[in-house]
């Protein structure tokens, strides 16, 4: 079971490294979005609080342009049956979830580095709060995005539908992580954000469990 999940993860990773289907586009997407923010705020003093919100806007839209690929490409190429015949639905789900975790961590790392280098007023005071928010936020983001990717892979207008379906589901998560990033700028201590952590952890747990229970219905018709 675990080795099968790992095998699916490795397959997706290898495929991504070989085709660079998502990676290159994502890289450019981040560069473009951050430049956009820089242009539109040139000459203005932008507060750290506002920049915290914008950081998650960048993360959300980058995720929306990359995380659906793992399911959509299987559906578009007709390789779904290959997987359906090879293993249980839950194995596929967790393999893809793992891949999206990896993708979002890579993405977040890149975004944050780019952000810290370009946004002068974005000064993180509590690094622990910031980092934990980023990691747990990434996990939650990937959890919800993965099941929604599985849904939209079967619909007609995949690209535009993805953010539309994801946003309301992700809103509680985004509100919490934005707030956490703001707190980290303001220099809040780690213990002040325990409540946030609880929300983030239980959000991911609830979404993953629900996805696991529902994935069978999406995967086979």
């Amino acid at each position: 079971m675990l080795s099968s999940i790992w095998a699916i993860f490795l397959k997706d990773l290898k495929s991504e490294l070989r085709t660079r289907y998502a990676l290159n586009a994502l890289f450019m997407f981040v560069v473009v979005t951050i430049s956009m923010i820089l242009f539109s705020t040139a000459g203005e003093v932008v507060s750290g609080t506002l920049l915290s919100g914008l950081l998650w806007v960048v993360i959300f839209f980058s995720a929306m342009s990359g995380l659906s690929r793992t399911f959509v490409s299987e559906e578009d190429r007709g390789t779904v049956i290959f997987l359906q015949l090879a293993t249980r639905p839950s194995v596929v789900y967790f393999g893809k979830l793992l891949f999206n975790f990896a993708l979002i961590f890579g993405l977040n790392l890149f975004i944050v580095i780019a952000y810290l280098l370009t946004m002068e007023n974005f000064k993180v005071k509590s690094f622990d709060v910031f980092l934990v928010g980023l990691i747990l936020g990434g996990i939650g983001l990937a959890s919800a995005s993965t099941i929604i990717a599985a849904i939209i892979a079967k619909a007609n207008t995949k690209g535009t539908l993805y953010p539309v379906l994801s946003f309301p589901v992700l809103l509680p998560l985004l509100m919490t992580t934005i707030n956490m990033t703001q707190l980290s700028i303001e220099g809040a201590t780690f213990s002040e954000t325990i409540g946030h952590l609880r929300i983030l952890i239980s959000y991911s747990a609830v979404v993953i469990i629900a996805s696991y229970l529902l994935f069978d219905y999406i995967w086979k018709e």
Binding site: A7, R77, T79, I81, F82, T87, K220, E221
Partner: protein, 217 residues
């Protein structure tokens, strides 16, 4: 070991389109079934239902080992499937495709098995080429390699010889003969000659006529 597949009153419709109704049969080890019918008669739909890729609209498909039902989630362990709509990963080589499959399936000592099966479908020499560069006949051969890798009890072939050359067709016949000795063979085809691969035949066109007569009566 006693293995049995049973279809009871299986019906399938896509919204209003009724594809077939009350399909009934039972297959045990050593039995083989050919599914005949015109284009669009529902052959592929039926094999997908047998393989658990589609759910029937009514009725049920049952897999049993020694009288014990197998959970639908575990059917994949017993099935080998070849079909035109089954696609392989074309950014990987033939060998990599098989390796991925073996790992996902959790097979042990898969290296030997992969080589064996590659030789069997005569792709060993081209094993390290990307599938993207394969001809359609070679892809079809690779699908056979994938289907046979875990030595399935049930082998399901939809349009078994599509895109194959004379030698490939011969290979398919050999595979079919061997499968009938050890397990169950199901072939969906519209070529009269290929119906000979199997002992029994179910014709979806006739089935449709029959069920229509019943309604008229």
């Amino acid at each position: 070991m006693d293995f049995k597949i049973t279809l009871k009153n299986v019906r399938k419709n896509f919204s209003r389109l009724l594809v077939f109704d009350s399909v009934n049969f039972e297959l045990t080890i050593g039995s083989s079934l050919a599914i005949a019918g015109k284009n669009g008669s529902g052959k592929s739909t039926l094999v997908k239902i047998i393989a658990g890729l589609l759910s029937p609209s009514a009725g049920e498909v049952i897999y049993q080992i020694d009288g014990k039902k197998i959970d639908k989630l575990d059917w994949f362990k017993y099935i080998g499937f070849v079909a035109p709509y089954l696609q392989l990963y074309d950014e990987f080589t033939g060998y990599e495709n098989l390796e991925i499959l073996a790992r996902i399936r959790g097979l042990k000592n898969y290296k030997n098995k992969i080589e064996e099966v590659l030789k069997r479908v005569n792709l060993y020499a081209r094993r390290d080429d990307l599938v993207r560069g394969y001809s359609s006949g070679m892809k079809q051969r690779l699908k056979y390699a994938c289907a046979l890798l875990h030595e399935p009890i049930v082998l399901i072939l939809d349009e078994p010889t599509s895109n194959l050359d004379a030698e490939g067709v011969e290979m398919v016949w050999k595979i079919a003969q061997e499968q009938k000795k050890k397990g169950i063979l199901i072939v969906a085809t519209n070529e009269a000659e290929e119906l000979q691969m199997c002992e029994e035949v179910i014709n979806l066109d006739e089935l449709k006529l029959k069920s229509r007569e019943q309604i008229v009566k």
